[in-house]
């Protein structure tokens, strides 16, 4: 028996299978989800001590089912429910469900990312019901009290119930497309939460990146023909590949151009590049594929100087058309400055100055500072770095920006 990580690695992939099976049989997502969570907690306590059962999935189904029985017994409609319980787990039937596991997992993801829920609720519920994380683990990862996370999950489950949607995933069409975009967005947010935290001292937050990649992989297996699913997985892998190189051991941020490229994760890059190269020719170009393609161009440059900036600029132009957003324009200004010089980048930035969505954002000031520095305007660059440092809410970003400003003194 391996350590705690071993049991978690076993339990998490089983979670949506077990939950999906119970919800499909009994409905009552809310009660089934609680029962599965308790079964997971019981397994995490017992398996390291007593050994892993021969059929872990059947064990979880049995324990979660017993929990459901207990729950139903305490309710009023006791007799009717006990009749249903009698047919709860005929031996051997579990095997017949294997084929439906994929559909069940997909249906669970759609349910947890229901548009009626707020993003924090979608994230929490997805991590618990599909990811198999405990409330305590999720609370730790998001640095909130466990009671707060428990409330978020409970509220999310009420929202799912109130939305009245069935367990089946919506059939192909506009609604399914929209619901799938919501699922991708939730996985993207989970990844980002972990990625931006991974320079901090709390490794459990960084673990969210791994969890998001695992769920994106699962989704890519279920929907192998969806180019955006592949694009999201590729984007995560290509971003994750730079994880080690993007901070110093002391936790200071290292900008892309100064990263030691030998420390990038070559296997993650190879997988990400292959995914995006296979996805793009399918013709359903979307924002995740384009962002992955940009990350791939960076990943494939042997040195920062050899980066194919015209290619990146073209990809940002495309991304701006597919998903217009001032943050994309900001990134395009960086690429434009590399191709046509800092003045061209600064001119594009000027067009963003009036944008309310960006006006107070530190990134606008940080990019302006960077371009001013490259244009040789040291005083203006220093002021812009300081403004960016005042605006950011991240400690390492603040240190980085103050450091850049300090280099320009005198």
């Amino acid at each position: 028996m391996s350590g705690q990580g071993g049991v978690e690695d076993l339990l998490r992939p089983l979670t949506p299978q077990v939950l999906g099976l119970l919800v499909r049989r009994h409905g009552q997502f809310d009660a089934c989800e609680d029962a599965v969570q308790e079964a997971l907690i019981a397994a995490a306590a017992q398996w390291p001590r007593d050994g892993v059962p021969d059929d872990p999935r059947a064990w979880l189904i049995a324990v979660a089912s017993r929990r459901l029985v207990d729950e139903w017994r305490s309710e009023h409609a006791r007799r009717e429910r006990e009749e249903r319980v009698a047919e709860l787990e005929p031996a051997g039937e579990a095997q017949a469900d294997v084929a439906r596991q994929g559909d069940d997992t997909l249906a669970l993801l759609f349910l947890c990312c229901h548009p009626a829920l707020t993003p924090p609720s979608q994230i929490a519920l997805t991590l618990r019901a599909v990811g198999g994380l405990t409330t305590e683990e999720i609370a730790h990862a998001f640095l909130v009290p466990e009671a707060t996370m428990a409330q978020r999950i409970s509220r999310a489950k009420k929202g799912v119930k109130a939305s009245g949607g069935g367990f089946e995933a919506p059939a192909a069409g506009v609604e399914r497309e929209e619901r799938l975009r919501a699922v991708l967005h939730v996985l993207y947010l989970i990844f980002n939460e972990g990625y931006t935290a991974s320079s901090g001292p709390d490794l459990r937050r960084g673990e969210l990146t791994g969890e998001a990649i695992r769920l994106a992989r699962l989704l890519a297996r279920l929907l192998p023909d969806d180019a955006e699913v592949a694009g999201l997985l590729a984007l995560m892998l290509l971003t994750y590949a730079r994880c080690e190189a993007r901070t110093t051991p002391g936790g200071d941020l290292v900008p892309l151009a100064e990263q030691e490229r030998g420390r990038w994760d070559a296997a993650a890059i190879a997988e990400g590049v292959a995914l995006v190269e296979a996805a793009l020719p399918r013709g359903q170009v979307g924002p995740y594929q384009l962002q992955a393609a940009i990350a791939a161009v960076h990943a494939e440059a042997p040195t920062a100087e050899q980066t194919d900036w015209p290619q990146i600029l073209a990809l940002y132009l495309l991304l701006e058309r597919v998903a217009p957003n001032p943050m994309v324009t900001l990134n395009r200004a960086v690429a434009l400055a590399e191709v046509d010089g800092p003045r061209a980048g600064l001119a594009l930035l000027a067009s963003l100055e009036g944008d309310e969505r960006l006006a107070e954002h530190h990134r606008l000031a940080a990019v302006r500072a960077h371009l001013l520095e490259r244009a040789g305007e040291r005083d203006a660059a220093r002021e812009a770095y300081r403004e960016a440092a005042r605006r950011t809410t991240s400690l390492p970003e603040r240190r980085y920006l103050e450091g850049r400003a300090a280099r320009l003194v005198g």
Partner: protein
């Protein structure tokens, strides 16, 4: 994103809160607390004892020295704080609904985090 609501008291805030309006003001405060606990936005809160009980440590000639009284010589003093995990607009909305009296007020500040985006 987490925000800290720094709740500033006017000189007569505590008197007003103890007076005839006590129940109505507490009801308004408790309604917000119930709401943010139920929604999973609540992170932490504390109320502070009166600023009259404060002592302040400052450097004097490079050495920390203790003086009686709060840090700033202002009429309004920090009376407590509330940390919430939500969007900026929502944090401002919570502050707007807080039972303010007299010249008291609330400062809404993002909490810094120990992570960062790639630069």
């Amino acid at each position: 994103m987490k925000y800290m609501l720094l709740i500033y008291d006017a000189p007569d805030t505590r008197e007003i809160f103890s007076g005839p309006q006590h129940e109505q003001l507490m009801d308004r405060m408790n309604a917000i607390m119930d709401e943010i606990r139920a929604s999973g936005e609540y992170v932490a809160t504390q109320g502070l004892a009166d600023a009259a009980t404060a002592k302040t440590v400052r450097l004097q000639d490079g050495q920390p020295a203790i003086t009686d009284g709060p840090f700033a010589e202002a009429k309004e003093q920090l009376g407590g704080y509330l940390v919430v995990d939500c969007e900026h607009e929502r944090a401002l909305d919570i502050a707007r609904r807080w039972p303010l009296v007299s010249s008291g007020g609330i400062e809404v500040r993002p909490v810094m985090f120990d992570g960062g985006a790639e630069m």
